[in-house]
Amino acid sequence: MNALENIVFLSAALATVSGFYIQAQEYIRSMVRGQFVQAILIAATIFVLAFVESSIDLVVLGLLVLVLRGYLITELLERRIPGKGSDVKEKDIGIASHLLLDLVFIMIGTFIIYSLVFSRITFSIAGSIAGDTILVFPLALFFQGLFLIASRNSTFSQIIGYIEEENALVLFAIFLIPVPIIIEASVFLDVLALVVISSFVVLEKFTHNPMDELRG
């Protein structure tokens, strides 16, 4: 494994670890900053791949991740944190139990899908920079995002869970085959617009719990 492969593996693994970090936070600002770090790691991975493949498209993609996910979305979310931003946290969440459940969920989700489905197909990874086992990282991050949405009841956590899912898809696409940049850019704008829409809901409703009117 050469140095570039090591860097790609490391940044992809760290992006997944940042997902665990976010899951372990109860303060909203820490979660938002965790999302920022995740975006930077993904951008770094894309830039390394862009260097290996001498691809302008990947450079543009990396810049998009940096600007839209790293800067704009982080800024947007931080500004929406109510009151004294640094003090706002989710109440009544069991961090330890959630992390344990999270691990079980990810292990089961990732390894079932990977071993039953993906391992049966021989994927050729972009630039042949790494073996197709690297697909485990975006899969794990995807399930991590899903678990964050399912396990938390604040609007912020659920938005960040959704962004994590989208980050996982960016990783998955660049490892497998980068989709045309115009489509990737449209996806980025869609996600940005969705975060903007969600930020309206944040103003009105901070937490989401079961309601009798919406039962059944």
Binding site: V117, I121, G145, L146, I149, I177, I183, D190, H208
Partner: protein, 444 residues
């Protein structure tokens, strides 16, 4: 060069630009223009360039343009005196137009990637429409819609990546017409799409946003959701299904979804939620038709176009009742026939149409699908026929109780709202009669 697709997408976007001038008149004009253009495009069928329009997508275009106009007309009175608004009336019409434009975009594009983008855009444009009548429940419903649908549709993007990986193109026409069946990879693509796009289509178990959003949105928005948004998502799912048909998986998911929706329908107290589950049942019946292929596809198309008018009629009628009685609870609504004869007629006709009573078009569609299913899998056929009958009895019993039992001092809410509801319900009957007439002629 085919100019109509550009114009169809542009008309509602241009209407949105009239935000501060005449948003209502502009929206109606855009609706009329879109109906005319959708009809005219028929004479150019089929064609494919950056757009892909064939008879199937044309049927969907007609549905979207008609229900877009009907919902805009109905909104004129409905949205006028809403007490607690989540969004201003101008924003409402702007979002309604953009919502329609995003559906046209999804239907017309000849690229799986842009179809995905279009589906995501429908969520963005329609999410705030749910809080047209703002309260804590509608906010929660809107949030569930945003997060559940977005999370589900994000999953569908994996199938888009895999399509590009496998075919090195996302061109819908090229992929479908290259006899692309490709074993395991094709199966993975259509299976992931089923879960991903199935979230928006209302496939069990990823349907949970559907009854919440339908029941809490303003009536014209519910009509758009039920009548056209879900079918548009189903259209995308069908286009991916065509890559490598996997009937066993799709039919079982559809059969289980029909069963679950019928069971949930049976014990609803909220009439809008009941119609929402009915939509889920109809969408999965159409999915069943698409999965079976052949006559099943024809059945699905007849079902979908009739359903779009029938369910719009049902939700418009629900809106009239809600305005008049102030309640969504069936136990608190009775004797509608005396005070609201037009709304009662449209409600009864719509519920009969949606549940597949003859001679409404849904009956013909279901007949084609079920006759195809009977020849393929008798177990699935038996399950579906049982639950379709359960749904038929459940909905029509509840609607009859609301209309004919007891008395009330409810009153019609103006000719436009009652008229739109009854016109939609009548069109669903007309489609059935015309089709039966044509079919009989062909037999003779």
């Amino acid at each position: 060069m085919h100019i109509f697709p550009y114009l169809i997408i542009a008309a509602p976007i241009i209407a949105s630009a009239f935000y501060s001038l005449q948003p209502r008149a502009a929206s109606i004009a855009a609706g009329i223009v879109d109906i005319l253009l959708s009809m005219l495009i028929y004479f150019q069928l089929p064609f494919h360039n950056i757009f892909y329009v064939d008879f199937t997508s044309w049927i969907f275009l007609i549905m979207v343009s008609c229900i877009y106009l009907a919902s805009t007309l109905y909104s004129l009175n409905y949205m006028k005196d809403i007490q607690a608004r989540g969004i201003s009336e101008r924003t409402y019409y702007t979002l309604l137009n953009l919502f329609s434009a995003s559906m046209f975009f999804t239907l017309l594009m000849n690229d799986y990637g842009f179809m995905w983008v279009g589906i995501e855009a429908t969520t963005i444009c329609s999410a705030l429409l749910i809080i047209g009548e703002k309260n804590d429940v509608s906010l929660e419903a809107a949030w569930r819609y945003i997060i559940l649908v977005s999370a589900g549709v994000a999953f569908a993007f994996i199938s888009i990546i895999l399509i590009f990986y496998n075919f090195h193109t996302l061109n819908v026409y090229d992929i479908i017409h290259s006899n692309p069946t490709d074993g395991l990879m094709g199966r993975i693509i259509v299976a992931i799409a089923l879960i991903g796009f199935g979230t928006k289509t209302g496939v069990f178990p990823v349907h949970t946003w559907l009854p919440d959003a339908h029941s809490e949105a303003p009536a014209p928005v519910s009509a758009m959701f039920s009548g056209v948004l879900l079918p548009v998502a189903l259209y995308v799912l069908y286009r991916i299904y065509q890559i490598d048909p996997f009937p066993l998986l799709y039919t079982w998911f559809a059969v289980v979804s029909i069963a679950v929706s019928s069971l949930f329908m049976a014990y609803q107290k909220n009439y809008k939620r009941m119609f929402a589950y009915s939509t889920m049942e109809n969408m999965n019946m159409a999915l069943l038709g698409f999965a079976l292929g052949g006559v099943g596809v024809i059945g699905a198309l007849i079902l979908l176009i009739t359903h779009s008018f029938a369910k719009s009629g049902a939700f418009f009628s629900s809106g009239n009742i809600m305005k008049s009685t102030g309640s969504k609870n069936m136990d608190q609504v009775s004797g509608l026939w005396k005070g609201m004869p037009w709304t009662s007629t449209s409600l009864v006709m719509s519920s009969m149409a949606a549940t597949g009573a003859p001679p409404f078009g849904v009956f013909i569609g279901e007949f084609f699908i079920l006759s195809m299913l009977a020849g393929r899998n008798i177990v699935q056929f038996s399950i579906v026929i049982f639950f379709v009958m359960t749904a038929f009895i459940g909905i029509n019993y509840n609607v009859s109780s609301m209309v004919f039992r007891g008395s009330s001092d409810s009153r019609e809410q103006g000719w436009l709202m009652a008229g739109t509801a009854i016109v939609c319900a009548s069109i669903s009957l007309l489609i059935g009669i015309l089709f039966l007439g044509g079919y009989m002629n062909a037999l003779v």
